[in-house]
Symmetry: C2
Subunit: 604 residues, 2 copies
């Protein structure tokens, strides 16, 4: 067993904790977190963005989702930590498992975790599952939330990265389309609907969106570590003092925003002179913040409601949409140049790392590019079967003049966050690879060209992308699509495209202005991986006696590698859709491409 | 205002009832009910199978669903009863409406209804909606359930039909595939899972299925009015004395079934010496029966659980499947002969009534036919835009040598209940009609040939049938499909194919052995209606690393009218599917068709 786990077990014994839970989250329940917060990764070696570790004296188990099964197994090998496949029929959830272990304990079972990183809702889940497992009210587990046992161990090694504290930047209205005052008005309307006078917000991208600010505390995500507290008259923004510029101070003054110290938030929440009810979202708020507020205003005054900024942020306004359209075209041009280079460039022995560097450098040259929106995946051959593979200096494949390379990447721009995947043939490919690619393409086109009645969620639409693959007896073990932020996180809710919802996954009605990716794929372990991904925007079509129809506007304009398409598998509508798409790519990308690149594109 | 409603208002005043609710159901929450129970129809004139009337001193409102909007409006015209469109965004539910009226009442609001006809769950719904409307615990409406005000009025006219009491028949194991003892064992296993010693069942088709009996108390549905009560050791069957034959007595003796009097059930439920918990399904059990049981065993001993017979009955066994396959072919032959007659027969002035009589008579000639499974719909031209139109002696269309006739019908056989719809051209048809028909066909074929991973419900699959129409900006305001019984009701749950679920609609995972119809359509008010419907059976495909794949086996083999198909709208896969389907029709129907009929079929 890894020394880190053994040390943790030692600590657990010292403070009498029977099970210790380490999630991936920071204090804001973020999907992607700063280096400082990667405790679970340090403990286990698993680098994926979704994983929860549960350590007892007997076991160490790590839950992750279908995107990471192959990668996680690899990274855990030799560690004696068991991977738990989230969402598989026989896998208990984290809390079901903890409840089951608690049930078999003779004394009161004590569950420990860093209370800043576990949301209130998950604690409720622990208690619910415990009751369901048959534990009586008196025998329910006790939670120990004040001690960051694993974090302390990491600190003690002197190797834990410092917490990031980068300067906060203001984002201009020409990008946001609405100033903080307008946004606060909408938030307060939502508060009023819930009859709440206060609203506490800990979700980083929502705070960035609400205050029209951006930070650099999380790699790839323009986030500043922060909390927000909104009352009927005022708004409080908790940020690290080092992050505050003179410009931010002036801006805060102009919009009557009170700047407070990040680390004072729990004290503030305990001591605030609350009036009436306070709105929080149990799926976001940490148990620590929840306890602080309940100390301040009493538990019965806390209203668990949907965080109102979630949907406000998800529905892009006209300014955002206009910017997104433009930046997506520029970003698509970089990706198209990259594909041209892959297919026509001179590279004796191409490596995944070179490919990665090429697309990253092409993207960095795009005017306005602020960086990448996530680590570029350039995965050759069997590596592409790992949905979130990352090539490194130490370990990367050398590409051959055959097979396929999958590249999934995106950029951050002041007016857009992009996300695109293309799979490209590097030479000879098998009939099976071509067939799989073409069936993925069928699903990709079917979803992109969907039209539906308002009221549908991703659950209704998902089968359009999956049906051609299901007919071949193939599935991809992840959702078909996720929401995309606007110069925010590359994964954004509440909307998504999935056929089943497990655990806490949200299912939201798709409304005009929402973005969503369309990314079906085929992943054959040990052989190859295929994914084709565009970002789409929900837009209104006609409204008639049947209701309001909706469809997608396509934002991504990157060609499909026709070397991988078997036209005999496509029907005439699909061929027409593909041709129309390629003609649009030519029109939109022409200003950004060289003559050779454009000529190549025109011939697709 | 109709005299019946005025009389009801008078009665309401006498017993101090502020709102009176009349649903469509009998005492078993049946979808289709015997003549004796059609109180709502008698009061309002609306003949549809789904409608709930709420009468106050000021208003009379009738809720119905999208299948009946056109018909209901017609039938209510001149009555001052307002139609309420269920499921439309702005329509409150029945109980939301009652709660809203209650809220505006100064005194305690009294809601009356026949307590045998309103399920416990709906009463809970009334209270929930009342709380949501802002009524405090003390101001919640009072329910008055002992008085069947409307029924008494009808009785007083001397025109109310007597309650049916037909002889009960036994169904042989060669049709049921499992005897009552085997079925009771499964029910008791389900009871044990819920730690219940008693189970009360009031759903007629479930009782028929469980005891392998059939009745004739409801037209088209082989039901006997009955209740069942199952304990760990015994089973009690409540039926009308007139329904009990010597054979049933012997059978009951052999399987240790206690035959009791139907009208004694409430007394029995009050007086039974309960041991431990009793399982009931709140969505089925009437509030009257619920009250009786709670008097008998105490409310805290009643467990609200899914009625276990529902899914047991829905998953057909091998014997049932084998019988269904055979009877569906025979039934399809009758329908095919009918279509041949429509298209090639000599009829100077065809009427809807003649068409109806023709298919009904052809079906009655099928060996084993026990009758129809519902009133045949033969709707010409604009009449077909009414999803559940019924031609009568008094009112029916004369068909012209142009346009389309829609025929939706089915039969009862000892081994199957069938349900099929075909729309047929009677001569010249418009381009629009052909296009709409072809897009319906595309959706019909897409769903029929679907393949999916186990875990999907009808919500996942529905868009396959609807997408081609949605792309044209057209919708049909009903589900795409419903479960079908096996010599039971033509509508059977819990499974169905829908894109949204309103009110109490159930959403169930599709599993092998379940049946479901595939019936997309286009309904253009005042112009025409199109529907194509087959009955499908869920079956297992391969199980692999992605999970268990499922698909449909087609049960209905009736040709599609190629005069209505624009081949240029179909893609090559669809044309191939259609050809394969027609070849299979030829193979399966050949033994039952005349030479002319077969030759015609072969040429399609």
């Amino acid at each position: 067993m890894k020394q880190e786990i053994l040390d943790l077990r030692q600590k657990m014994q010292e403070v009498n904790v029977d099970a210790y839970v380490v999630s991936t989250a920071d204090s804001h329940n973020s999907e992607y977190v700063g280096e400082h917060y990667r405790i679970r990764q340090w403990l286990t070696g698993f680098t994926g963005s979704n994983g929860t570790l549960v350590v007892t004296q007997k076991d160490a188990k790590l839950w992750t989702d279908g995107r990471y099964f192959i990668q996680c197994e690899k990274e855990l090998s030799g560690s004696e930590i068991t991977m738990m496949k989230m969402g598989e029929p026989d896998t208990p959830t984290v809390w079901e498992y903890v409840a089951e272990v608690a049930k078999n304990s003779e004394k009161t079972f004590r569950v420990g975790f860093d209370g800043r990183t576990i949301p209130k809702k998950q604690v409720e889940e622990l208690f619910n599952k415990s009751k369901k497992a048959g534990l009586s009210e008196e025998k329910l587990p006790e939670i120990v939330i004040e001690q960051d046992l694993a974090g302390e161990l990491w600190e003690a090694t002197d190797k834990r990265p410092k917490r990031a504290m980068e300067r906060i930047r203001l984002l201009d209205k020409s990008f946001t389309g609405a100033d903080v005052a307008e946004k606060l008005t909408k938030v307060r309307e939502a508060m009023e609907k819930e009859a709440c006078n206060q609203f506490f917000l800990s979700k980083l991208d929502d705070i960035m969106w609400l205050f029209n600010i951006r930070g650099n505390d999380v790699k790839f995500n323009p986030m500043a570590l922060s909390y927000a507290f909104v009352t009927k008259e005022r708004s409080f923004l908790f940020v690290q003092p080092e992050a505050v510029s003179e410009a931010l101070k002036g801006y805060a003054g102009a919009f009557d925003i009170v700047i407070c110290e990040y680390d004072d938030v729990f004290k503030f929440l305990k001591e605030y002179p609350y009036e009436g009810k306070t709105l929080v979202d149990f799926s976001e708020i940490s148990i620590m913040a929840y306890k602080a507020i309940s100390e301040g205003c009493g538990e019965e005054q806390i209203i668990n409601g949907k965080n109102p900024t979630l949907e406000l942020k998800a529905v892009k306004n006209e300014t955002e949409i206009q910017n997104m359209r433009e930046y997506f075209v520029k970003d698509s041009a970089a990706m198209t140049k990259y594909i041209y280079w892959l297919k026509n460039g001179e590279h004796k022995k191409l490596t995944e790392l070179e490919a990665m560097e090429k697309i990253d450098s092409l993207r960095s040259e795009v005017k306005g590019c602020m960086g990448l929106s996530f680590t570029t995946i350039a995965a050759y051959g069997a590596n592409a079967a790992m949905m979130h593979y990352e090539a490194t200096e130490e370990s990367h494949a050398i590409c051959d003049n055959k097979g396929m390379i999958l590249t999934d990447c995106g950029g951050q721009y002041p007016g857009a966050t992009t996300d695109v995947t293309r799979t490209v043939a590097l030479g000879e490919v098998s009939k099976e690879e071509i067939a799989d690619f073409t069936y993925v393409l069928k699903g990709f086109l079917a979803l992109m060209n969907a039209k539906w009645l308002k009221g549908c969620t991703g659950r209704n639409l998902d089968i359009l992308a999956r049906q051609p693959l299901w007919k071949r007896g193939i599935d991809y073990k992840c959702g078909t699509g996720h929401g995309v932020g606007c110069y925010l996180n590359v994964h954004e809710g509440p909307q998504n495209i999935r056929w089943k919802y497990i655990g806490d996954m949200e299912e939201a009605v798709l409304v005009p202005g929402m973005t969503v990716t369309d990314e079906p794929g085929v992943y054959i372990e040990g052989q190859y991986g295929i994914r084709t991904e565009n970002t789409l925007l929900v837009r209104a079509e006609e409204e008639n006696e049947y209701g309001q129809f909706l469809s997608f506007e396509n934002l991504t304009w990157v060609p499909i590698d026709m070397d991988l398409v078997d036209l005999s598998i496509l029907n005439k509508e699909e061929i027409e859709l593909l041709n129309t798409y390629h003609r649009a790519c030519v029109d939109k990308l022409a200003p950004y491409l060289s003559e050779e690149e454009l000529n190549w594109l025109k011939k697709l």
